[in-house]
Every structure is written in C-alpha cells, then in structure tokens.
C-alpha cells in the first residue's frame, strides 16, 4: 500500500488535500446538506485554482 502511494505526484496529493479539507470546512460552516455540498465543491475548485496559480507564480523563481 505504501508502494502505491510512493509515486503519487504533488498534484494528486493537492487534490486529495483539497477534497478532505473542503469537506471538513463545509461541515464546520454550513447547516444543510445542500449548502455543504455547494460550499465543498466551491472550496475544492478554489483550492485547485489557487494552487495552480501559485505554482505558475513560483515557476520562474524555481528556475
């Protein structure tokens, strides 16, 4: 099982991180199930968007 996860890339780990944290934040801040689903999806998409944006901003620095 460890071997399977040893080759998981950074983007995949970011997706997993964003997914779980979005679910947790939705459960914390919203009351109804529909509101939670909407909030979780929006937060997850923002995680990806901001993560990719920061990666592009940092790209010239890393070279």
């Amino acid at each position: 099982m460890h071997a399977a996860f040893a080759h998981v890339g950074h983007f995949a780990t970011m997706l997993l991180f964003g997914l779980f944290v979005s679910v947790a934040l939705a459960c914390l801040t919203r009351r109804t199930a529909a509101e939670r689903v909407r909030y979780a999806i929006r937060t997850f998409l923002l995680f990806i968007l901001i993560g990719v944006a920061i990666a592009w901003i940092m790209y010239p620095i890393s070279r």
Binding site: T13, L16, F17, V21, V23, C27
Partner: protein, 176 residues
C-alpha cells in the same frame, strides 16, 4: 351596619398603607410564600447554574468522545451529517498521510517544533494512535512524500480539534 362597623374598626395603618400593601393584605398567601421561601430570582439562578454545570460536563464528555473518534461527538449529539463528514475528512487526511509515510511525532520530541507537531497530530485521536501502533518501523523522510504525509496528519489533527470545538459549542447550546 355591622359591615360599616367592621370597616371602621379596622386598624388605621392598614388603611393608610400604600396601594401595593393593600393589595397584598387582600391576598395574603403570596406574601407568606415570599417571606418564607428563597426569592424567586435566586431559585431560578441556582437552578440554571446547576443545569448549566451538567450541560458543561456533558459537553466535555462529547468533546472528549469527538477527540478520540472523529465525528463521535457530533454523532452523540444527533448531528449525523457532520459526524460522517468529519470522520471521512479526518480519516482521509490521516490515512493518506500515513500512506505517504508521514512522520508521527512523539511527546518526547525534545524541541518546540516537535511538541507542536505532536499536539497537532495527536488531535487526530484514534488515527494518530493507530498510526503509532502500525508504523513501528518509523517514518520515511527520505522521500518528499514523507514530508507531505506529515502535513496531512497534522492537518487531520487540526481539523479534528476544530470539530471537537464545534461539538463542544453545540453541546453547550451556543451553536446550532
């Protein structure tokens, strides 16, 4: 005639008394109860205090349960949606962190960062202790995924601590 005599034989202070006391003399029962018993405001305050102390104890018990098993505090409070959500989120973060060979800090780490790491990871409750039990070989920091895994486990602990606070506040009646 007798009624008039009775009226005039009544003691003068009662007639000269203010209207409130006159009303009390017409119905003496509340006056007696008020003179013998504890004032109503103190009774209610004491009752409220006793009730709230029980509530605090239950809230602490729910918080402890929620720390040990993520989501259990909300489940005991009947908030099943939040309970399932927190269990999946904390469990997913912790298990992913362990599979990425994350580092599990011990209480005897020796420095402040290690202590903070331990406190944040121990917030994951049963997942932290299960990881300590399973990962007897220690962390694999040779890979970058080990560092990422450490962040996953720490995040699981922090998220669970937020869930514990949420369950505590719900049990106290300060949050829906």
């Amino acid at each position: 005639m007798n009624e008039a005599a009775d009226r005039f034989d009544s003691p003068p202070p009662a007639e000269a008394a203010p209207p409130e006391s006159a009303a009390q003399t017409t119905n003496p029962e509340p006056q007696c109860a008020a003179s013998n018993a504890t004032p109503p405001d103190r009774v209610h305050a004491g009752f409220r205090r006793g009730k709230s102390s029980w509530r605090e104890m239950f809230a602490l018990a729910f918080a402890l349960a929620g720390w040990m098993v993520p989501g259990l505090g909300h489940a005991l409070l009947g908030r099943w949606g939040r309970a399932v959500g927190f269990f999946l989120a904390v469990g997913g973060l912790a298990v992913t962190g362990l599979l990425l060979s994350g580092y599990l800090f011990t209480p005897q780490s020796g420095d402040a960062f290690g202590t903070l790491g331990f406190l944040s990871e121990a917030g994951a409750g049963v997942f932290y202790f299960a990881g300590r039990f399973i990962e007897s070989a220690g962390p694999n920091l040779a890979r970058a995924s080990g560092e990422i895994g450490t962040r996953f486990i720490a995040t699981a602990g922090i998220v669970n601590l937020l869930a514990v606070l949420d369950a505590f506040e719900i049990a106290r009646g300060r949050r829906y």
